[in-house]
Symmetry: C2
Subunit: 379 residues, 2 copies
C-alpha cells in the first residue's frame, strides 16, 4: 500500500517511537500523583518529554507546554480559555473546523470574528489581515499551513503584526509541526497548538498547546492535578492549571521519541524532502490533462499536501479507485475545511487530497501520479 | 517491587492489552476521516471497542459511549455540558477533585451545589441525599467508590431516587469500573464517567462518558468530526457531537482488550478477589497497634483501596519508608479528595493509601502489612 493520507495521521513512525512506547507501558505509573520511585520516574519521563518539545519549538519555559488529547483540544483551550464576550478575533477562510467551530460556538457567546478570504489562490493577503484588526481585536487565529493545500502562511510577518497591535497570535500547527522549523520566540507566537500523531510521529491521543507569557487563559477542564489538592480551584501553577486528570504518558513519551528522530535527521532535511515532494506532486498533477490542482503552485511555500480533482470524476470516486484499483490511500471530501472549499469553488463536490511525510518516497508519488493519470484518461 | 498504587493507575496489564496496542500502532490510520480501507478498518476497530464497552456496562446504544482524554475529561463534559446557571447539584464529601473542582468553577457561573457529608464512617446517608434534592436540582453527582477508602455507594438506590425526582444521576466510576458489575440500565445511571487506565487495564490517555437518553449535554469541545464537515456547528449525531479531533485509537482498542480480559476471567471473579483483598487489608491494618484505618470496615461494601495512618509517623514519611525500605509503592497525601480528608479528620496530615488490583496477590498485601507493622513498631 502507498499511504498518502499523512495529513490525517502519519502511518509510518520511526522504530524508536514504537520502542519507546513498548518500554514505557510496563513501567507506566501515574506521574505527579504519588511519591514512590516509579511515579517519580514516570513524572521524570513526562518532564523530559516536555523539555524535548520545548527545545524543538524554541519555548524558553517547558512548563508552558500543556499536554492534552489532541490538537483540537489544544485549540479549544486557546480559544475558549483566551476569549470572552466582547472580544474580536481575526481568522482565515482556510482554517480547519477545529478553529472555525469553536469560533462559531463562541460567536453565540458574544465573541465576534472576521474571516479573511484567501480566494482561489489560497494565499493570505497581509493587508487584509492588518485591515481587519479593530480596537476590540484580541487574537489572530491562523493555521500555519492549510490542511487542504499545504500552503504555508507567513508566520514571522503575522507575529510582527500581532505584536504591533498588541494582540495574541494563535497558530494551528496541525500540518506544519515537524515539517518546517517553528520557533515561537523568533516568530512571536503566543499560542501554538500541535498534534502529536502527525509529522511529530507520536502515537494518537496526544496534542499540546504552548501558552506564552502574554496569554492568560482560563482553564477549560478542572480536576485533580496532584498539586495543591486541598484547594477548591485549579492551582495557578503551570502546567497543572491546564492539565487535569491522568496524562497520556505513553503518548507523551512517543512524541518526544518522534522529535528526537527528527532532530537526528534534521528538520532542514525534512523541510527539503517535503518541498521536493510538494513540487513533484504539484507539477506532476498539473501536467495531467483533466486534473485541476487547487491553490497557488509555488512549492517553496507549500507542504506536500495537495488537493485536486479529475474532471468528470467525483472526488469520492477518485479516492475509492485509487484505493481499490491502485492500493493508494488518499482522502476525499471536505477535510473539515468547509470555507477553503468555498474559496476554491469546490464547496459542492469537495476534492481529493494526497499528503506525504518524511517516509514518503518519490516512487510513492510517482505511482500516485500515474494512477491519477490513468483515472483521468478514463474519466 | 510490590505495586499498591492501582487506584492511581493499574501498572500490570493483561498481556493481550500490550499485544493489541502493538498490533494496532503500525496500522493506525485516522478513523472516520477518510474512505480508504485502512481508515475504514481503523474506524471499525474503534466501533468494535465502543460495542465492547457498551456491552460491558449494559449500554443499549454503543453510540452513546463518548471517548475522551481521561475520566476527568468525561466528568467535565457531564458537568459543564449538562449544567447551567440556575441549576442545583447534589454531591458528596467523598468526591474527587475531578467532580469538586468543576462544581466549584460552575458555582461562579450560578450553578449551586449541596455537599452531603459522610462523616468519619465514609458511608452515604441516603436520607440526607433525598432531603437535599430541591425543585431546582438537576443532577446527583456521586462517586461509585471513594478513591480514598474504596467504600462503594449504593447506586441502585441512588438511581431509583433520581428517577423518582426526575433528576440525572452522574456516576464517577473511576475506581469501580472493572472491579464490580455496573449496568447503567439496571442501576438507572444517566451519565457514567470511566477511565481507561485503571481497573479496565487500558493504557493511559483514554476515558469515556456514557451519555444516556435522558441527558442532553452541550458539547464542551468543538472541531473536526469527519462528519457534516460543511456545517458550522457540531453535528447533532452521537458520538460525533462530543468527539472532536483525532481519537486515541491505540488507547481505545487497549481498553477493549482489557475488558475482553475481564470478560474471560469474569467480573464476578474480579469482584470476589477484590473483596478478599479489601478484607485482608482492612483486618490486617486494624490489627496493627498504632494504625488508624479510615472509614467503615465492612469489606463487603469496599474495594481494595484503604487509607490509614501510623501514629507518630507523617503519611509522606510512611509512604517513603514503604518505598525505599520495602520496595512497596503506595501513595500518601490528599489523593485529590480534600473534603473526604476533612470527614476523616486528616485534613492536615493526609493519609497513606494502598490499593490493589486483579494482579495483586495475598502475598503482596501480607508483605505490605508486615512492613506497616514494622514501621508502626519503630514509630
Amino acid at each position: 500500500m502507498i499511504y498518502l493520507d499523512n495529513a490525517a495521521t502519519t502511518l509510518q513512525k520511526p522504530e524508536a517511537v514504537y520502542r519507546r512506547v513498548a518500554e514505557c507501558l510496563p513501567l507506566c505509573a501515574n506521574p505527579g500523583r504519588s511519591g514512590h520511585r516509579l511515579s517519580v520516574q514516570t513524572a521524570r519521563a513526562v518532564y523530559d518529554a516536555r523539555e524535548t518539545v520545548a527545545a524543538f519549538f524554541g519555548i524558553a519555559d517547558a512548563m508552558r507546554v500543556v499536554f492534552g488529547l489532541n490538537c483540537t483540544d489544544a485549540l479549544n483551550l486557546a480559544l475558549h480559555g483566551g476569549l470572552q464576550s466582547g472580544d474580536h478575533v481575526v481568522t482565515t477562510s482556510v482554517e480547519h473546523n477545529s478553529v472555525l467551530r469553536p469560533l462559531n460556538a463562541l460567536a453565540l457567546q458574544g465573541v465576534a470574528h472576521t474571516i479573511i478570504e484567501t480566494g482561489p489562490g489560497g494565499t493570505l493577503d497581509m493587508a487584509a489581515v492588518a485591515a481587519a484588526i479593530r480596537p476590540d481585536t484580541k487574537m489572530l487565529a491562523v493555521t500555519h499551513a492549510s490542511n487542504l493545500t499545504g500552503i504555508l502562511n507567513p508566520l514571522a510577518e503575522l507575529g510582527a503584526l500581532c505584536r504591533k497591535h498588541g494582540i495574541l497570535l494563535l497558530v494551528d500547527a496541525a500540518q506544519s509541526a515537524g515539517c518546517v522549523p517553528i520557533d515561537v520566540q523568533a516568530l512571536q507566537i503566543d499560542l501554538l497548538a500541535v498534534p502529536g500523531h502527525k509529522a511529530l510521529f507520536g502515537i494518537q491521543g496526544t496534542g499540546f498547546l504552548y501558552v506564552g507569557p502574554r496569554a492568560h487563559l482560563r482553564e477549560v477542564r478542572q480536576g485533580g492535578t496532584g498539586s495543591q489538592s486541598s484547594q477548591p480551584f485549579q492551582p495557578d501553577v503551570l502546567p497543572d492549571r491546564y492539565e487535569s486528570g491522568t496524562l497520556n504518558v505513553p503518548g507523551i513519551v512517543s512524541v518526544a521519541a518522534g522529535i528526537e528522530y527528527i532532530n537526528t535527521v534534521g528538520i532542514e532535511a525534512v523541510e527539503a524532502h517535503d518541498r521536493a515532494l510538494a513540487k513533484q506532486m504539484l507539477e506532476g498533477l498539473a501536467a495531467i490533462p483533466g486534473v485541476t490542482v487547487y491553490g497557488n503552485a509555488d512549492a517553496a511555500r507549500r507542504l506536500p499536501v495537495v488537493a485536486f480533482n479529475i474532471a468528470g470524476l467525483p472526488s469520492a470516486e477518485t479516492a475509492t479507485r485509487l484505493d481499490i484499483d491502485y492500493d493508494i490511500a488518499a482522502r476525499s471530501g471536505f477535510h473539515c475545511a468547509p470555507l477553503a472549499h468555498r474559496s476554491f469553488g469546490t464547496a459542492n463536490e469537495g476534492s481529493v487530497r494526497i499528503s506525504g511525510s518524511w517516509f514518503t518516497t518519490r516512487q510513492d508519488v510517482e505511482a500516485a501520479l500515474r494512477a491519477v493519470e490513468a483515472l483521468a484518461k478514463k474519466a
